[in-house]
């Protein structure tokens, strides 16, 4: 058996959708025991597209399958007395409880931090919510685009003269999930040293606002409001179209750049001109420079230029389509995409280790659980309920 970084960390996972499940996925993928508690109808992410062959079904959501690897699943109705009773006995056996309900939900179940701490004083309770557990926005609903806007990232994304443009999909949720996983481990680390549990309060809005680079600093330093930037066609770090897609022909950091080497590399003698040979000259003649570069790159093959540039230590980048990402030789050399076999989805390639650890590697031990797969094992065997009692709970909708 491989050694696992988070061996022995027991996580009770009450999360749903994306941010919470990504947090507990990171914990599970690096060895924590994660028990996912779903409402009897299942995590709503089970109904989230895309599905295998577009056929909707509780075990067919591809994003759910990705987000819930290495976890166990039990179902529990937290609005029933029996459900709460079972949950409390699970809390006794856990180091961590993670949840991403609306802030008012856990107290309404009688499961606020104080109540849980009475059951288990060493418990780390991690809560992920749209705007945090306190403050005037705490009960507001939000979608990823709203978090982008409220966190300050949307305003600086997109074209200068158009509406702000969001990254596709659910980046804010993933940011918050990652931060929550880190914060949870910090609290567990502290708990292992002192025996004390604590509450971790992750706001998705704050997770977004934490990575804004100069937006806040410029405002506090000089009162300047960073806006989406006009497109300087001569900007060397800009993305350009190639014959087969797009590339980022960024030669490198300004000060270290030797213009002649770049001109030689591109084999564009027209750039060997004092109009372009200093950063300030390039700024003055940006339009013309941009036209020459655009005209040149549109005829190039992006990978050919990418590899050739790195021979010269120009730090060019390529824009890869999903297909190209999955055929990427670097990913392949690092075995990033891994085969995972799932009872309903079959064997598919999944994105694997977000990073590598030499002694305690990322591993896919089990595929995402089917709904309530571990009811018998956990609620039955571990908590001592008979098959009859389980059947009764099922009939009453408790599990």
């Amino acid at each position: 058996m491989t050694e696992r970084a988070l061996e022995g960390v027991k996580v009770l996972d009450l999360t749903h959708h994306i941010s919470g499940p990504y947090c507990s996925k990171l914990l599970a993928d690096f060895g924590a025991d994660v028990l996912k508690v779903e409402r009897p109808g299942g995590d709503p992410a089970r109904r989230m597209a895309p599905f295998l062959h577009d056929e909707a079904g509780p075990e067919k959501s591809l994003v759910f399958a990705y987000l819930n690897t290495n976890k166990q699943s039990v179902t529990l109705d937290l609005k029933s007395e029996k459900g709460i009773q079972i949950l409390k006995s699970l809390v006794e056996q856990s180091d961590v409880l993670v949840e991403n309900f609306a802030p008012k939900a856990m107290p309404s179940f009688g499961l606020d931090f104080e109540a849980l701490q009475e059951i288990n004083p060493g418990l780390v309770m991690t809560s992920i919510s749209n705007f945090g557990q306190t403050g005037p926005y705490r009960d507001y609903k939000a979608a990823d685009i709203v978090e982008y806007a409220m966190g300050g990232l949307l305003y600086i994304s997109g074209a200068y003269d158009r509406e702000p443009l969001k990254h596709s999909f659910n980046q804010a949720q993933f940011k918050a999930g990652t931060d929550a996983a880190s914060a949870t481990l910090m609290a567990v680390y502290h708990q292992r040293l002192t025996g004390e549990g604590q509450r971790v309060d992750v706001s998705i809005q704050e997770a977004v606002a934490t990575g804004l680079r100069d937006v806040v600093n410029n405002f506090t330093y000089s009162g300047a409001v960073r806006r989406r930037q006009p497109n300087h066609s001569g900007d060397l770090s800009r993305l350009r179209a190639s014959a087969d897609g797009h590339l980022i022909p960024n030669p490198g950091i300004g000060a270290g750049l030797n213009w002649n080497t770049l001109v030689e590399f591109l084999d564009l003698p027209e750039l060997d001109d004092e109009k372009f040979d200093t950063p300030s000259a390039r700024l003055v003649n940006a339009e013309e420079l941009g036209r020459i570069l655009d005209k040149y790159f549109i005829k190039q093959n992006k990978y050919e230029r990418f590899y050739a540039a790195h021979e010269k230590r120009f730090i060019f980048g390529v824009v890869q389509s999903p297909k190209e990402v999955m055929a990427d030789p670097q990913f392949e050399a690092r075995n990033y995409f891994v085969d995972i076999d799932h009872p309903e989805l079959g064997t598919l390639k999944y994105p694997g280790a977000p990073f590598e650890m030499s002694s305690t590697p990322w591993e896919a031990r089990t595929a995402a659980p089917v709904l309530g797969q571990h009811n018998q094992e956990v609620i039955g065997a571990r908590l001592g309920h008979t098959p009859d009692q389980l059947a009764q709970m099922r009939a009453m909708g408790v599990i």
Binding site: L154, E163, L165, D214, V325, A333, Y336, L348, P351
Partner: protein, 565 residues
């Protein structure tokens, strides 16, 4: 109050953002971070956003971004090119828990600072390297910026305005994404060390960390072979979903509306794909047979058709762009007119040339009944044979036929069409070698029962050939696109709209506009379109649930109103 990481000592040999940002997060939580800087080479982040842009004096001590990102840290300068400098670094490592850096592996190897080297100094050291593409592998020594890894990871490809190229974040976004994962990695390694007393090497690929946050597209490609689309701020389920202008300069509001049932509703499934070309002949608005001339309209279409890229499975033309007149009895043909045999010959030749099914829209007088017009689409196979034809069933009152003609003619004879259109009676499909195609010609797309008829007759994709050239401005064309989106959502089918002077558009089964032309331009939209099967709730039940709900809502409002008074 001490932070949770009180007592953890980290040596940071970081530059710019990825590692310094991650170490800031750890420092904020109580770790002691000792940051190393070169005496020979100024960390370029120090000259970033300098206070009041004043670069006189010690500007390197006035960088806003540098200070925000390196708070809570200790700073040490070293010259690693000198043996004494390296020795101080080794001494620091010998009393550290974590050593972190974000240089290329080449640099680290040159200094002899790989994990194997450090372990000899401090056996339980945790070493963290953050690189663009990972510490080993063919790209390991490739330097990278945030935009480069955003491109490599697959995130940039997905992001962009509708119909536009990829768009990058204006900050080195992936530095933060990978930095967040770095914090987690350090904590996982610290947890392991706490339990076992062992250190290890952590290899952060900024690209890998970022790819791990876009399963929506990577899993879709992995399972369904589907490459993503750029569609602005639109969402896969929520609608409306976007960023809308408010009063004032550069003021915006985001709106996202989720429907609880939407996530549960079946949308059918993909059975196959078609490479489609939608051909928009172009010309100023009002370019149509009357008054511009049928020959011009047809020539525009042929000219646009010459830009269709092959291989292609299906080429769709708009409604009412093949308008032949009866052959003259004299035998003399007018140049500005179009004759059925010439048109048919040209269309056959195009189908054969492109090796594709071609679906053109015809409009002419009924040869068997001179008092009636016909409006239909035909399907021409790649071998030139016409295999099917669909005649418009739902015709436009006052545009294509006149209800109560004898009465209305008394008051508005000049403004009315001279002949009524003879409506078709067949199912709303064309049977072709590339599948059964649903057809809703123009006005018909405003009626849900037409597309429902198509779907119940086995249509796997819906064509909406329309015209709209007689309108000015773009209200009607915009409504057409909206109607196409509605029909797509209802039926779980892709809807492609084709108009001679715009808008032509590709709408997927979730109602997202993936491509759209502008008015008047000559254009060909190429798109790989899904053929889909299965029935949505709307296709199964029609409009009655909505009618019942509306009645209930009205009744509820009436009751509430009475109670209040």
């Amino acid at each position: 109050m001490p932070g949770p990481l009180e007592g953890v000592r980290i040596i940071e040999m970081g530059q710019l953002i990825a590692i310094p940002f991650a170490m800031k997060m750890l420092a904020d939580m109580g770790a002691q971070v000792i940051r190393l800087e070169s005496v020979a080479r100024l960390e370029s982040y120090r000259s970033d956003s300098v206070y009041q842009n004043d670069i006189s004096g010690e500007f390197w001590n006035k960088g806003a971004n540098f200070y925000e990102q390196n708070r809570n840290k200790l700073g040490v300068t070293l010259d690693l090119s000198k043996p004494e400098g390296l020795q101080i670094l080794r001494n620091l490592v010998s009393i550290a828990d974590v050593f972190s850096e974000n240089f290329t592996p080449r640099v680290i190897k040159n200094f002899g600072l790989e994990y194997g080297d450090l372990r000899k100094i401090k056996p339980d050291i945790i070493m963290v390297s953050s690189t663009g593409y990972g510490f080993y592998g063919p790209w390991s020594n490739f330097g990278a910026t945030g935009p480069a890894t955003e491109g490599a990871a697959g995130l940039a490809y997905q992001t962009g305005y509708l119909g536009g190229g990829p768009v990058m974040a204006e900050i080195p976004y992936t530095d933060y994404t990978s930095g967040e994962h770095t914090v987690f990695a350090v904590m996982a390694a610290l947890m392991h060390r706490l339990r076992t007393g062992q250190g290890q090497f952590v290899d952060i690929s900024q690209t890998q960390a970022t790819s791990s946050t876009i399963p929506e597209v990577l899993m879709d490609f992995s399972a369904n072979g589907r490459s993503g689309q750029r569609f602005g701020n639109q969402d896969t389920v929520m609608s409306p979903h976007g960023c809308y202008p408010c009063r004032g300069d550069d003021r915006w509001i985001t709106i996202a509306v989720a429907t609880v049932l939407a996530a549960m509703a079946p949308t059918g499934q993909v059975v196959d794909e078609l490479d489609m070309a939608l051909v928009q002949g172009g010309g100023p608005q009002r370019t149509r047979a009357t008054p511009t001339g049928a020959a011009t309209v047809f020539a525009n279409q042929l000219a646009a058709n010459s830009h269709v890229r092959t291989p292609v499975d299906l080429v769709v033309w708009p409604e009412n762009v093949v308008n032949p007149v009866p052959l003259p009895e004299s035998g003399w043909r007018h140049e500005d007119r179009l004759y059925a045999d010439d048109a048919a010959e040209a269309l056959t030749a195009e189908a054969i040339r492109l090796d594709a099914v071609l679906v053109p829209g015809w409009f002419h007088r009924d040869p068997e009944d001179p008092t009636a017009n016909l409006n239909y689409q035909t399907a021409i196979e790649p071998d030139g044979t016409v295999v099917d034809r669909y005649d418009k069933v739902r015709t436009v009152p006052f545009g294509e036929y006149v209800p109560l003609r004898s009465l209305v003619e008394l008051v508005a004879a000049d403004m009315l069409p001279a002949r009524d259109l003879r409506p078709g009676t067949g199912p709303a499909v064309l049977d072709t070698s590339v599948g059964r195609l649903g057809v809703s010609i123009s006005w018909e797309v405003f009626f849900d029962h037409r597309t429902r008829d198509a779907v119940h007759n086995g249509a796997e994709v819906i064509l909406n050939p329309t015209n709209g050239a007689s309108y000015w401005l773009t209200q009607v064309q915009t409504q057409q696109v909206a109607a196409s989106r509605l029909r797509a959502l209802e039926t779980g089918r892709w809807v492609v709209q084709v108009a001679p002077t715009g808008f032509s558009a590709v709408v997927d089964h979730r109602g997202r506009v993936l491509q759209r032309t502008a008015v008047s331009e000559q254009a060909v939209l190429h798109h790989r379109v899904e053929r889909r099967q299965g029935l949505t709730w709307a296709a199964t039940s029609g409009t009655w649930p909505m009618a019942v709900l509306s009645l209930l809502a009205a009744a509820g409002a009436w009751v509430a109103d009475r109670r209040r008074s």
